[in-house]
Symmetry: C2
Subunit: 232 residues, 2 copies
DNA sequence: AGCCGCAGTGGCAATCTGTGCCATTGAGGC
DNA sequence: GCCTCAATGGCACAGATTGCCACTGCGGCT
């Protein structure tokens, strides 16, 4: 178990586990914290395996819980429902992306900041990250036949958009101190555009057999999409 | 009953009722057809009422069916689930939008075509349309507190995006006969950008008390959003 | 080391959701 | 008026969720 391939595409779900205790400082996660994260990942993996093997419909919640080695009741303490269980695996790189974005040097033009953060968060530094992307690809392909699973994908993206929106709002406040930050509508649009760029890049990539790196990779596609949507 | 306020925002759901029989020709809908449409709308209204009164969680499917005057079993013949029932009311104008878009004069620049169609589909020619928009606003506000309802909104938008995508693809084929149409990625991005423009316009409008027309209206906001996302 | 409070867990019971099956009924064509 | 068929309603059932309660190990205190 453990978080080996814990790469998250858009990372809206990771927060489900330890949102209260240590948001900013990466202080030593207590044993309990780490155990919870491992459990969540374990469940997510079990769900993803079963979903891709049998299809989401034929998979019972109990089967997921059982394969993950937890009680049914515990499953529902981690996830709202069956489909949500794969959320963390579809959130590949999202946390990374937002963190990188929040750390952008003040004064950087927005499109540039977004592009840099996207490039970095969709980069594939190790095999675990690559595996995470490939698993996401499998899920996206399964989603093509399953409305409920597709709904999770939409939700993951939308939550990512919301979070990016707040990151961008803070970023805006930080630079134009006097005026009170950027136009909320612009912030919203930038968040939507960049999230859509990543979403479409991943969807498009999932439809192909392109590698995780190089031309046709998620990072490549995402940057191309971003340029179209935010040419400013 | 009947389709008085049948205006649809993004209109992905309307097809749920009569997708087989009369898709193109608006031939005389048989009595049965009209009855079905009325039933669907009846259920949608019942659901919307209960959702906004009690909240989606506290509303049981049976209560919706009952208020709509149909059997529980029938409810499930019209909608996949509880939340989906309000889909038609959130799809305000979508059908209209796509139809208008499909009918665009060949040669019209894409951004212009999209803007024209959006302006027309979010226009408010009569009180019924206005009522439809206001009801959508109520649902969007309720969605703020309910993840499941929010999920329906995401889904409606996503389905609209998919449909717009195919309309745009055909539009592209129609003009550049020789080459085989526009770059699929571009089509996808244009569909995403225009759908997002409408989505964000409606979300933003729902947060305010602005009127259905004039500055701050859905149409006004949508066009502003579109200009930002598709300045080409 | 021994004790305590608490978070995380598992199990059970109850309610709600979603689907297959079958009989009934009214619409539309002959 | 008779026949065929789509639309409906009721029923039963498997699976999805949730409230409630007791059990157990982690982490802090004495």
């Amino acid at each position: 178990m453990c978080q080996s391939g814990a790469a998250h595409v858009l990372g809206a779900y990771a927060s489900a586990v330890s949102p209260k205790s240590t948001p900013p400082a990466p202080a030593a996660p207590s044993l309990t914290e780490r155990r919870k994260a491992a459990t969540q990942l374990e469940i997510a993996r079990a769900a993803a395996d079963l979903f891709t093997e049998l299809g989401p419909d034929a998979t019972t919640t109990e089967a997921i819980a059982s394969r993950a080695g937890v009680g049914l009741r515990t499953f529902y303490r981690y996830f709202r429902n069956k489909q949500d269980a794969v959320g963390p695996l579809l959130s590949v790189g999202g946390e990374h992306w937002r963190a990188r974005l929040a750390a952008t040097a003040p004064g950087t033009p927005l499109p540039e900041a977004l592009a840099g953060a996207i490039a970095e968060s969709l980069a594939v530094p190790d095999e675990a990250t690559a595996a995470g992307l490939r698993q996401a690809r499998g899920l996206l392909r399964a989603a093509a036949d399953d409305p409920a699973l597709r709904a999770v994908w939409y939700q993951v993206n939308q939550e990512s958009e919301d979070q990016v929106r707040s990151v961008l709002a803070q970023l805006g406040d930080r630079s134009g101190e006097g005026g009170g930050g950027a136009d909320p509508l612009d912030v919203r649009l930038a968040a939507a555009a960049s999230t859509a760029a990543i979403r479409i890049a991943l969807e498009t990539w999932a439809e192909t057999d392109a590698d995780v790196e190089g031309p046709g990779s998620p990072a490549d596609l995402a940057l191309r999409c971003l340029r179209r949507l935010l040419p400013e």
